[in-house]
Symmetry: C2
Subunit: 196 residues, 2 copies
DNA sequence: CCTACCGATCGGTAGG
DNA sequence: CCTACCGATCGGTAGG
């Protein structure tokens, strides 16, 4: 009765996920069809179901993989000896590098998570809120330590995360500036803007 | 043969557009159905077609209405006597106010324009690029006038516009801070960050 | 991995 | 403004 699931080859599943992230980014999750994804993989649509459970599962794996990375990094930053400004800079750099090196997945996670099924979307949003609260906490520390100017920590958090999440790093941008250049400019801009 | 189109009542069409913007923002354009929109209006789906040409037309009107507003504002700023820092601040304030007062439409325009038909998407993107070029030009002026620090004008533009476009102003945010507070904090953050 | 196929949903039209 | 309905497309399954 139950179909025997092929052993997930690892490489194969990764390849599907990579193509899915690219497709979902370009067209949006709802506009992207499983048939198109199958074509990218060089197989017929039903064949994909030997490797995936559903289209929605692909989005889930993309979103929660990315969320896990950011949450893990936040944990190490919070546990570090850095001061608030250094912590903020480390978080900013991580966002930029992730976006630069793994654009499709991060972009899809940031922009298509609303297409997750309700339970997963709620879970994703909860993690996101937790991340934002931790971020705002660091900003508040910075204000208390007199590193940052007096301001609304939530707004500063919103501003920084908005700038980082909204980054659209097309191929053309990558020709205009390097990752290092992007990092240095953005860190300065976003940190100096709130530094005393 | 040709159906006689009901006179666009104005109020009615505006009401449809408002509901469409709200629906498209919450679910995304592709996931939002004409049937749902009809339900919001209290009619059956086919009845909507006495007021609209197509679902896609609604997205077009939302996106190009918003684009027109931003382009028009850019024109008046460019023609003003302000210096580069003042011009940049004026642009930032306009973005924030628009986002605050017309969240659904601006959000849909920023996040769903990719769902426009190819010709319109290309047109929209071209206008967006023009806007970004004008913005980057002002930043460059600011650097030349020694108001802004030496930096990559494209990256500064990307950072500012990304922060502004990515703003998600839910009801909850509006309780945490006022429009004025948001404006003052963000303008300071994004301008001080590049000011000498 | 494929062929054959299904039920659901969608945008939109005909006709009144 | 409604009822009735259509062609297209979609995610996914059966069965081999």
């Amino acid at each position: 009765m139950a179909k025997i699931k092929a052993l997930t080859n690892g490489t194969k599943k990764d390849s599907i996920l990579k193509n899915a992230a690219s497709l979902f980014r370009k067209k949006g999750f709802r506009a992207a069809s499983v048939r198109e994804l199958a074509e990218m993989m060089g197989v017929e649509a039903p064949s994909l179901y030997n490797h995936i459970g559903s289209k929605s599962e692909l989005l889930q794996e993309i979103c929660f993989d990315v969320a896990k990375d950011f949450t893990a990094h936040m944990k190490t930053v919070l546990a570090s000896e850095k001061n608030a400004a250094e912590k903020t800079a480390a978080l900013i750099r991580f966002h930029i590098a992730k976006m630069y090196n793994d654009f499709d997945k991060v972009y899809v996670s940031d922009n298509e998570w609303k297409q997750l099924h309700k339970a997963e979307a709620d879970d994703y949003l909860a993690r996101r809120r937790e991340y934002e609260n931790a971020f705002a906490g660091i900003i508040s520390d910075g204000i208390r330590e007199k590193l940052f100017t007096k301001m609304h920590p939530r707004i500063a958090t919103l501003t920084i995360l908005s700038a980082l999440r909204g980054l659209e790093l097309r191929q053309q941008n990558k020709k205009e500036f390097s990752l290092k250049e992007l990092e240095e400019n953005m860190v300065r801009h976003l940190i100096n803007g709130i530094t005393i």
